[in-house]
Each structure stands twice: as C-alpha cells, then as structure tokens.
Amino acid sequence: MKKLTALLLAGAMVVSLTACGGGSGSGESASSAASAASSAVSEASSAASEAASTSEASEPVSEAAEGPVTEGFTINACIASEPETIDPALISSVDGSAYTQHQFENLMKYAMTDEQVADDPHMKMTEIVPGQAASYTVSDDLMTYTFTLRDDIFWSDGEPVKAQDFVYAWQRVVNPDTASEYGYFLNDIVKNATAIQNGEMDATELGISAPDDKTVVIELESPCAYFLEICAFASLMPERQDVVEKGANWTDPENIVVNGPYKITEWVHDSYIVMQPNEYYYDYENLGPDNIVWWLSDSETNILQSYQGGTYQFIESFPTDMIESLQASGDCFINPYVGTYYLYLNCEKITDWRVRAAMVLSVDRDHIVEDVTQGGQVPATGLVASGILDSTGKDFAYGVSELGAVYNWLSQQYPDYDLTTYSGKCELAQELYQEAVDEGAWDPNTTVVYNFNTSDTHKAIAEACGHDWKDVLGMDITLENQEWATYTNGLGEHTFGVARLGWIADYNDPVTYLELFVTGNSYNYGLYSNTEYDEAIKTAKATLAGDERDSLLYSAEEDMFAEGGFPVCPIYYYTNIYCANGLDNMGYTPMGYFFFWYATPAE
C-alpha cells in the first residue's frame, strides 16, 4: 500500500529522466531519453523540419546566449545540477564538495603532483600537503596533532584567518543541532565527538582547541592512520562564526566570506555559478582561470550538446552509449574512482554461506562491465575498492594476491578449481550450491527477491545477475524496482534477498568499507555478524598504519569471504568519466574531485 501511494504521486512524472540522488558515478549514468531520441530520428525528421521552418533565427551563435559576462580565461564546466547547499557543514554530495574545495582551504589541502592520471596528459594526481597550516607536529603517543597556521592567510574580506575559525567549524559539524550529514564523521576519531553527536556533551567539549590565534590543537580518541586526510576534508573547512550566523543565506554571493583560492561571485539558481580568484588568497599570483563558470544542468543530452557545441570545456555526465564515440574522438577519459558497486546478500534470507558463495562466484562480471555499463569499470574482486592503498602504498584490492579477497580463501580450500576463469568459478559455484541443497540447507525452489532503485543501469545489472544465477545455479530470482527514497528506506527493514548499493570512499583507508559489515553498523543491511571480524576491525581502527594493521585488515576482508561469510557480492569498481577540451593542469583525487585552480589553456 505504501508503495502504491508513492507510485500515485510520482507515477505520472517523468521518472526515467531524473537521476537518483547522491554521488552518481559513471556506472549510474544512463539516459533513456537520448537513446530513445536517436532511434526515433527517422520517424520524426519530417515533423522537425516542419516545425523548424517557423524559426526565424539565422545567424550562427557559438556562445551561449544566456551566460554570465566574463573576461579573460574562463573555464566552463558542468559537473552536476543545482547543489542542495554549498554550506561546507551541510554538503553531502561530490559536486557540493568540489565547489567547497575551490572556495575554502583546510589545515591540509590537495596539491598537484607531476603524476599523470590515467591517459590524460592534462590531468594531474594530487596529494595531501599542509594548506592553511604552515607545519604540524604529532605527539609521541600519536594522539595529539598541533598545527601552526601560516602568517599570510586571510579571509576574502581581508580579516586574518584565525585558529578559532577552525575550532568553530569543526564544532559546528559535530553539533547535533547542525544536523550535518557528516556529523558522524569524526566519531571515535576526535575526542568526545561521539558523545557530542549523541547529545551527551556540549559541542565545545570537542577535542579541538585554539591556545592562540595561530595554533590549532586536536586531540584524538585513538591513533588514526588517515587523520591528515580528514584535515583536508570538505565538510570540515574553516568558517567565520560572524558570517555563518548571518543566517541560512550566508552562502549567497553577497554574504559569503571564504579563505580558499576562489570565491563565488554570481549564482543563478539552476543555471550557473561563477567563481573568481580570491585576491586575499596567499597564492593569488599563481591562480589559473580568471573565471570558473560551473553550469548547473541535469540533462545529459543538453550537457553533451553544449560540450560539442563548444560552450562547455569540461563535463562529467553524458549518455553512457556515447562513451565509445567520445573516446574515439580523443577528449573523453576514464579515471580511477574509489567506489564499489556491490550487492547485499541477506544472511537471514539466504542462510547458507555456500549458497551465497555460489551466487558471488557465478556472476559474470566481465560481461557486466563490457556489455552493460561500458564505462571502463573494473570487475570487483573484493569489497574494498581498487585505489585504496595499504600502508606500503600497494593497492589494497590486490594486496594479498592478484585474485582478490573474494577468491583467496576459496582458492586455498578448493585448489582443484581454476578460479582465474569464469567457467572455473561456475564449476565451484555449482559444487557449493549442490552441497547446500543435498544437505537440506537450501530449498532450490526458493525464489529470491532482488531489489534495486529505479534506473536503467541497475535494472540491466540485476537482469544480468539474475540470468547468471538462473543459468548456472538454477535459482529463481524476482526483480523488484523501487524509487530511490522508498528503496533506501526498505534496505533498513531487511526484507530483500539481494539489494544493490554503490559506496564511494570518503577517505583513503580500507576501514571506510570494512566497517560497513560490522555487527550493528547501520549499513549492515544484509545482517552479517561475525565476532572475530568485528574484533579485528575494532583493533585495526585503534592501530596506527603499519604492517600489523595491514595484516589485520587483509585477514578481516578474507574472513568475510570464507566459510560462514559472503554477505556481499561485489560487482565492479567505479570509474570516473569526463570530457575535457582545451584545458591543461587540472588536478584530481580518486575520491572524485576535480581541481581547476591552477588550470591553464591547453596549447
């Protein structure tokens, strides 16, 4: 009945044209509109030319008629539609973070290296270096970080940036009254953060303090291997209390005061945001573009046409079926992007681990990435996304063996099967499945419900998996799609057999993934529970980066894909696809942010 009412309200609307919320990677982008349009070209061309004859426009126009007036070197980029907010404490999307990274600078920042990203000679990898901080020291017990701020840092109204601005901002994010989506982010990391989030302590008790205007001291609850990365995080950017307290519209161009390289100067809602260099920024002299125009659009068709028409120089979303031809023309690139597309296998519905293992083994991932998603995604061999590094800098996903976490334990237990090939995996899958059926642990007539949120891509992936399970194992699968908010709500009720999710890393550490499957974690939708696993993750969280921690995390992930486990079926690792034309010196992090502040026109 609840579903029915949702359909009543949303049904008549053009659901297929709207993307689901959240950070959508390449795997999510699919435009039914564009593909339908191209197939209907022949039928409709007579009507189009008829209608067009009324058009009186005749002069060629190369620029958008309706854009901002800009001078000098301007980057026109489109990375998303209207952001929900650009208030650093409230942002939760990748695009909101990108705007924030351009406007604000934290204690640490992303700086460009000489390393090229993927195939694009104009795109440079970034690394974490001190930003507003000139230097920092860490106490011997690794529990206290002391940052000394630079002397030449100012807000865009000329006031000096003070240590108190960081204290205020961090407290604001953690304060439950702010209701920040990243309010939990410092839990168990910074002293008292969890208690403040739970309403047991006042926000001023947070373990961050400013002994003087230029010193920020942060006390941790336990050593944190990725703490410096957190110090560059977009949600924790410094803010001026007097500015934020102007009210909800403090982020409007006429009110906002920033400390980063660029500052918003104009914002036409649902149309564009203009940013210009902040003259008070310490590296103002070296900044690149005179203007960055962030166009706000959700029409993949329009975004692509505007790019091809020359209005945009940088775009991140366009119809998936165009990727191949765009790559051929040389301006479309596929970047690594730290995210995993995976399926929850509900441990309470599919109770026998061998059935779950058989399901994990029998999905033909090569087929999915090559024929369904087509965006250069990498077949997943573990839960932790490729691109997350261990303490030695090795890609965690392939740290133990080339096979990956999913197959490590199986290949030792069942050495007779060749797990490097799909047919070998299928044979083992059939063997495990049959064993479970023979023992009466699984009734082969059970129909498993596969839930996904409405999207062409998710549907195609669901169909591919359902087909494989039917074909290889003889399992019956029912596909059920739901609109996004209904879907996420249903995940928490654990009624599904199989359900999809994509998880983009917030910071570069395996814990961001492995934590999800700890008993009691609110994302543990499949109700996996393993006390040894829980213990290992807890210990790893309190251990500083090094061999010991690495091996804890490696064996934890292996445990998950061993006897009694397999609560999750990883499908692929995300990629980030973009088109860029005429730009050089762009920066990128595998968390999905692009930086344009040192960009220059390409030769």
């Binding site: 409709a44 939760s92 939990y184």
Partner: protein
C-alpha cells in the same frame, strides 16, 4: 455574474484546503525521508527531523502548514536548496515567472497556429492541404516532447548553430525559439485536430447552409458564424492544458537548460522535499482553479446562451 464569481472563489479556498490535506497525508504516507542517503545514519535522520520539526505528530505539522500558509509563509526547502525559503525558490529566483513565460508563449503559439490550421483543414476537407495537415498533426500528437526537443536541439543548436544550446532565462528571441516550438508543437497539433472536427461539425449546421444560401461570403461564414460555435471544445480543452503546460515544462526546461520551476514539480517528490511538494501543489492548484474560472467565464462570452448559474437565465 459577480455573485457567481464570489461563490466560485469561496469554493476555491475550500478546494485548496482539501488539496493541501490530501497532498500532505499522501506525501507522508510515502516511505522515505528527505534526509535519507546512501550514507545517512538513523541518528542523522533523527537529528535532521528534529531540526526541521518533522518529529512532531502529523496533525500538528499539518496545522502548522495551514497556519503558515495563511501568513504567507511557505516554509523552507529541506533538500533541493536546503535552508532556502520556498517562497524565494518559487517566486524570487524567477522560476515561476520563467515557467509561466515559457508556458504562455507556447500556449499562445499553439492557439495562434492551431486554430487557423484547423479551420483551413476543415474548410478544404479532403484536399491536398487537409491531407498534409492530417499527417503533420498525427505525427505531432504522437511524437514525445523530449524526442522533438532533442532533435531540434541537435539540428538547430549543434549542427546549424542557429540557436544556443543553453536557453537560460529566455531573455532574447533566439533562445526562446526552440523551447517554445518544442513545447507548443503537441498542443498546436492537438488544437488543430480538435478545431478541424468541431469546425466540420459547425459548417454542416443548418444556419451555415442558410447563410450560404443568402450569399454570405465564405470568409465571413467561417469567421463570423462557424468559428464562434466551434471554439467551445477548444476552450474546454484549454483549461487543463494550462496546468499541463506549466508542469509539463520539466522536460523542455531540462533539455534546453532553462532554470524554471518544472524540475521542482518532479524532483521534490523524489527527494521528499515536503515544503516544496506542498507549495508547488498549492500554487499550481490555485492556478488551475483560476484558469477554470476564466474558461467558464469565457464560455459565457463566446456563447451567451450558456448559463453559469441556474438562477441567472
């Protein structure tokens, strides 16, 4: 007439209240919350609910809506433009005006082109022109708007470069052409078909035959006698069209990158932005109610025999 209009306004207010109640309880019956994302914890949702008063009993929330609406306060957006007053989104950012501008232009074009085409087709029934128009109008009614819009965009904006790909705020003529044509094409064709049928009906009436027998010129037969009578079905059709043309602008606005209100009608439900759902529904309902009133009054003007109230004849 005045009494009639006053009565209708009173009825309109009651209707709006009912619409508010139905919308409010329907939208709260949908599972999900504006604060649900892949990464939000139950704790986050609880905190956000408390922040925006969504933790109060439904009946209290509804009462607050009604009271605030009477004060002219439409609430603040929870999700789509978090923290921004809904009134600003709809009116001050020019979205409503822009959607109305697009809708009215399309409607005017549809009427201005559709009615004459329908008349001509009816009058030249069976001729080559009628045949041609029949094909065009059938295609026009069948082709989905987003297909037509995309085709026009690719052909005239990308290939021929006669128009911009981003129409923006529609301040100059060139950026209006494609969206308005894409939007009005369906309605033009539908009105032409409707007009043709009712015109055919009219010109076969006895009074037309009489007029013709008296030697009245064809031109004035059509314009003076037939047209007026055959307009009734078209006017009836226009009432609901006005609502459709404004909410239906979503696809056009998205395709031509126009920052109008269309997106908000659809996206607010999907993102559970309750205050925007309420506000867009109420504003649109008010508009439809007003347009229906205008249409009813227009009947009376077109055909004085129609009585608006039973007492008034």
């Amino acid at each position: 007439m005045i009494v009639y209009i006053i009565k209708r306004i009173a009825a309109a207010i009651a209707t709006l209240l009912v619409i508010m109640a139905v919308t409010f309880f329907l939208m709260n019956a949908i599972p999900g919350s504006p604060f649900l994302t892949e990464k939000s914890t139950p704790k986050q949702i609880e905190l956000a609910n408390a922040k925006y008063g969504l933790d109060k009993p439904l009946i209290v929330q509804f009462k607050n809506y009604v009271v605030n609406y009477l004060k002219g306060d439409l609430g603040t957006s929870l999700k789509m433009q978090e923290g921004t007053p809904v009134k600003n989104i709809i009116f001050h950012q020019g979205k409503f005006a822009l959607s109305i501008k697009l809708g009215i232009s399309a409607l005017v074009l549809a009427i201005a082109v559709g009615i004459p085409l329908g008349c001509i087709a009816a009058y030249r029934r069976g001729g080559a022109l009628d045949g041609f128009l029949r094909v065009v109008t059938t295609v026009g009614v069948a082709i989905p708007t987003f297909v037509l819009a995309t085709l026009l965009l690719i052909l005239f904006a990308v290939k021929l470069e006669w128009a911009p790909t981003i129409s923006g705020s529609l301040t100059d003529f060139r950026s209006c052409v494609l969206p308005v044509i894409s939007m009005s094409f369906y309605y033009t064709c539908y009105i032409a078909k409707l007009m043709r049928t009712s015109m055919l009906d009219a010109i076969n009436q006895d009074y037309i035959r009489t007029a013709r027998a008296k030697g009245v010129k064809t031109r004035s037969i059509v314009l003076k006698h037939a047209l007026r009578n055959s307009l009734i079905p078209v006017i009836t059709y226009l009432g609901p069209v006005i609502a459709g043309i404004i909410t239906g602008s979503f696809v056009i606005e998205s395709t031509f990158a126009i920052p109008g209100l269309g997106k908000y009608y659809v996206q607010c439900v999907l993102s559970r932005d309750y205050p925007i759902i309420m506000a867009t529904t109420v504003v649109l309902s008010a508009l439809v109610i007003i347009m229906n009133l205008v249409v009813d009054v227009a009947y009376k003007i077109v055909d004085p025999r129609i009585s608006l109230t039973t007492k008034e004849d």
